[in-house]
Subunit: 261 residues, 2 copies
Amino acid sequence: MSQLLTRERQALIRDRLQDEGRVLAGELAKFFSVSEDTIRRDLREMAAAGLCERVYGGALRAAPQHGSLSHRQSVAADEKAMLAGAAAPLLKRGATVVIDAGSTNLAIAARISQGHRLTIVTNAPAIATAAGDRGADTILLGGRYDAATGGCLGARTAAEAAQLRPDLYVLGACGVDPAAGVTAFSQEEAELKRLLVGRSRAVLVAATADKLGTAASFGVADCDRLTHLVVGADCPAELAQAFSSRGVAVTQAGPQRRGAS
Amino acid sequence: MSQLLTRERQALIRDRLQDEGRVLAGELAKFFSVSEDTIRRDLREMAAAGLCERVYGGALRAAPQHGSLSHRQSVAADEKAMLAGAAAPLLKRGATVVIDAGSTNLAIAARISQGHRLTIVTNAPAIATAAGDRGADTILLGGRYDAATGGCLGARTAAEAAQLRPDLYVLGACGVDPAAGVTAFSQEEAELKRLLVGRSRAVLVAATADKLGTAASFGVADCDRLTHLVVGADCPAELAQAFSSRGVAVTQAGPQRRGAS
DNA sequence: CCCAATCGTGCATAAACGTGCATGAACGTG
DNA sequence: CACGTTCATGCACGTTTATGCACGATTGGG
């Protein structure tokens, strides 16, 4: 094999990773007739670029991590259940409600009132099963399933969503800020959310503390487009005030209400 | 078995935990040819990461699943895991596979090989999440979600399915009989299944013992339309013979085989 | 209460690792 | 052509990691 450029070697390593799921540093060094240092440098670069996971002895294919969704679900589970308890009553009897993907929204779906004859539309499989279990008429938006967000994204999903006119949209936010509005982590995600915001009569966001006052890279909607915002009881008063003054109905959830005026 | 990376070993332990619900330290040590100390260290790390529960002698799975399917999932779970172990290898590398709703098929989805670059299409939310977790490209067929079957049904689902030409269709059956063929409990279900049978290059059915030799009300396909049938080892020989003589490749799944890849 | 299995900890070792530095080739500039 | 720059590479060095072994503590069944 003739002289290999660095990039070529890395491309070959990537191919092998994709095929076999793992590579050994020492093995690659012999195969390419370079020192292990060089291979380690390659693997480090690739790991930094998100192309593989660096482990002792070599590298593994970057895995869409197992617990990504179930893990997120267990993070701050108490807070999410609290928010869900406050948000669920806002789904009016007989309404058609779109529920976005997201672990907080899953908690809401698991809390919807039985016998309220709700029609739930969602792009998230987990939310569909939860809503179905609660006796709601449930419509699932199909399309390419994105394991990172736990919902369907892409053209087909958007096309199906474009035919809806829901009474309420329960929006999943990656960041909520009075100035920046609602933001999302990825372009595709943001696009679908924007579409649905535009088609819905009302928009509700339930945000955990870590999302309040932060903004992600892709804008979804300005604050004045929001109808309801559900936050924890520990939300700073001035932040809640900032949303209220923009016409958002802010609900503070919590075991103990404070600042109830 | 070649050199195993630490992380790989832990991933394998996690898989086994997921399948069997428990692992024994001494057994794992022999299996991986390492000392029990090393295994204990692995288990300790995994327990710290919340992936298992550490107990005297080994470790237990610590993931309480949710959803309405969870009940059906636990019924005859061993048998389904056995069938799934035999059926999963039949999903060829790179193929596009439609997986029907059903608890047996969910077990198959949870067992698909990582890194086989499969494209999985399904009408069942639970199967979509499972396939996504296993690293497969996953497409979800949308539509009205039917909590009874755990999948989407209806006109929209059928319309999306009508655009597919899958390599393999993993059909979920309510009844399988040499004479009556494959049958389903509801008209709508049967209709979707019929459509997909007609569009697929091959059809696979994994049937638990209680479904063999029985027929439900709505016909889906004759036996000669089946490519593979996966049954338990306790399937009566003459029944298996009856299928074979109609051109079906019958695979009898043995009790829990676990081998190197 | 006893015993064996199992466990945790401390320690030693070898492999794998990261870093800093030197070399040499490729490249652009004047 | 002479020169400086950039970059991939290999080597030396000290550090970290994974592992097995020894030893005492803990567990759980009889």
